[in-house]
């Protein structure tokens, strides 16, 4: 927490789906170079909040500030432009494309010279850079030329994470990134989160796995019924307190 202005800040976000108020004047903030865990019971509004902050959801009310400036995040492209990347729970990969094509989908490197003007692509460069990104993550991607649909859940997740990490400049959202992973891969992801944080990127980590949260987060923000009910410094809290906050036993305490 070196900077005094949050890299991303949300104030009073509200969104209703019919009679259900998924977000109820929720606030959120994250600074550059910190890991914020976002926890809450099912239906607390975590995924809705992530959608709103990654440009995938229109808000009823509320304001979003990026590095102190008010921004409009109504499309994923606007979020990407600011350097906000998201690893979705469903991973958002195209199963028939290979890892490198998925990595660069929407951001292809054109072939050099005239060919590039005609829409030809520099597949070699994209393959090499993808390989570097996967290696950095310690991801074992079986093949760069096979469609990702033929790969295991863990490999697909690794590809989706590597893609977001490679492009994130400001903030990266990870929605349950370790849910489908084995022990070694989970360790890799947590290690990646630290490494990305050390590069000065804000990491928002959504998880049900409390030990993982305690291990990697700098701060923990707890959502309940569409509101942020508490923020904890990770090294000054314990699992019991977090669970109590999630389930409502602490209502009235905290923020």
């Amino acid at each position: 927490m070196t900077s005094t202005i949050p890299i991303l800040e949300a104030k009073g976000l509200t969104r209703s789906f019919g009679a259900v108020r998924a977000l109820d004047h929720v606030d959120f903030d994250i600074y550059a170079g910190e890991v914020v865990a976002l926890i809450g019971d099912n239906g607390a509004g975590k995924s809705t909040l992530v959608k709103a902050l990654s440009g995938n959801l229109a808000l009823d009310t509320g304001e979003i500030y990026y590095a102190g400036g008010k921004v409009d995040l109504s499309t994923p492209a606007q979020a990407s432009k600011l350097g906000i990347e998201t690893v979705y729970q469903d991973l958002a990969l195209a199963p028939h494309l290979n890892p490198a094509q998925n990595m660069f989908l929407g951001r292809e490197i054109p072939a050099p010279g005239l060919l590039g003007k005609f829409g030809f692509l520099d597949n070699k460069a994209m393959r090499l850079r993808s390989k570097t990104a996967f290696d950095e993550l310690g991801a074992t991607v079986r093949s760069l030329s096979d469609p990702v649909g033929s790969m295991s859940g863990g490999q697909r997740q690794a590809i989706a994470i590597a893609r977001s990490v490679a492009w994130a400049k400001g903030v990266i959202f990870l929605d349950e990134p370790t849910a489908a992973l084995g022990v070694v891969q989970t360790k890799n992801v947590l290690e990646t989160i630290r490494r990305v944080r050390d590069k000065g990127v804000g990491v928002v980590f959504i998880s049900h796995n409390m030990p993982n949260v305690m291990e990697v987060a700098d701060r923990v923000q707890v959502l309940r019924l569409g509101r942020r009910i508490a923020t904890f410094e990770a090294n000054k809290t314990n699992m019991g307190e977090l669970v109590a906050a999630m389930t409502g036993a602490l209502d009235g305490a905290g923020a």
Binding site: A94, G119, S150
Partner: protein, 363 residues
């Protein structure tokens, strides 16, 4: 088989990103378009043995190639459309409508030279593109299912063509068109000019589909529309472009048809859409989207054409062709389904549902 050979170079690598070459043969047999090429070669071999003096002769092969040429142009657009998991039933009607308007325009312009033909070409392309654009906007923006949209334009385009002509075919087509593109040969050879024209277009769009960003986005939209949208691919624009492409190619096919038959042949295209869809699917393009090759479509076009031609030559009732094509079509989709299921399991290895299975069991 002048049609298929050069196209092979284009489509042999549907996946341009290729690091490690594994077992090359196993890889080849895993590609459905290659499997279907083997089926075609078997059919060709059988007819060649049964009628060695007629079937494998150039004059006969030339006939087959010429008959396939117009369908090949239509097959390109259909391949793009089906890769996006869409369908375009309207191509036959758009072909007829474009031919009718183009013929009317050429009559109105007068003359029988190349300038008249050029006017006809431009009109056919523009009219076809407009129908395709209408399909695309209705599919992408109004979110009407492609089957319904193109079923609607199928009826509308054919009906309007009949309104314009009063149901009577127009038979005034510039002689330069019928003499050159229609029945002419490439200078100094006996290769039909119409087939060369079709081949050039096939190669160009084969390269676009398999090597460019436009092609990549076509696969991406068909593979996972939501994912493509999230990474900033303009899905609506892509879909509209693809349906417009299909319409434009149908318009061009309308002019080719005018050249070849010297008439608008209003009633002659009622089965065209289904024949082209069958060829695309036989060629390994998945109706569920995300998968397909132009090369496969070309092979898929030749199977019905060769069967029809061969049955006539060996004296089998040509009606059997429809039975045979129907069986191949269902078999192709069956294989595709099993392949998809295997891939979705994420078993970690390539699906082995292929003709290679049949051989390895025997060994």
């Amino acid at each position: 088989m002048t049609e298929t050979k050069p196209a092979a170079g284009v489509a042999a690598a549907p996946n341009p990103i290729d690091g490690q070459k594994k077992n090359f043969f196993a890889h080849l047999t895993g590609i459905q378009s290659f499997q279907i090429l083997l089926v075609l070669l078997v059919i060709v071999t059988i007819f060649s043995i049964l009628a060695p003096t007629i079937f494998p002769q150039w004059t006969n092969i030339r006939q087959i190639v010429q008959n396939v040429s117009i369908l090949a142009v239509l097959g390109i657009g259909m391949t793009f459309v089906i890769i996006t998991s869409g369908i375009d039933l309207s191509i036959g009607s758009v072909l007829v409508f474009s031919g009718v308007v183009s013929a009317k325009a050429m009559v109105a312009y007068g003359g029988g030279g190349w300038d008249t033909a050029l006017v006809g070409l431009l009109v056919a392309l523009v009219v076809g593109a407009l129908w395709g654009l209408l399909n695309g906007v209705l599919v992408a923006k109004a979110k009407v299912p492609p089957l319904i949209v193109t079923l609607g334009t199928l009826g509308a385009a054919l009906g309007l063509a009949q309104v314009i002509t009063g149901g009577v075919d127009i038979r005034e087509v510039p002689v330069v068109l019928t003499d050159t593109i229609g029945y002419g040969n490439v200078f100094g050879t006996t290769i039909p000019l119409i087939s060369l024209v079709a081949l050039v277009i096939v190669v160009i769009f084969g390269i676009i589909l398999h090597k460019t960003k436009f092609g990549l986005y076509t696969f991406a939209v068909g593979s996972n529309e939501e994912a493509a949208l999230r990474v900033g691919v303009k899905v609506d624009k892509q879909l509209i472009s693809i349906y417009a492409l299909s319409g434009t190619l149908a318009g061009f096919a309308g002019l080719l048809s005018l050249s070849q038959y010297g008439t608008t042949a209003i009633a002659g295209q009622s089965q065209t859409n289904l024949n082209v869809i069958a060829a695309v699917v036989i060629g390994g393009t998945s109706i569920f989207g995300g998968l397909g090759t132009i090369f496969g479509t070309m092979v898929g076009l030749f199977i019905p054409a060769v069967l029809q031609n061969g049955f006539v030559i060996v004296g089998v009732q040509p009606f059997w062709q429809q039975v045979a094509v129907g069986a191949v079509l269902v078999a192709a989709v069956f294989i595709d389904q099993r392949r998809r299921k295997a891939a979705a399991r994420g078993a970690g290895s390539k699906s082995k549902v292929s003709l290679a299975n049949l051989w390895s069991k025997k060994k």
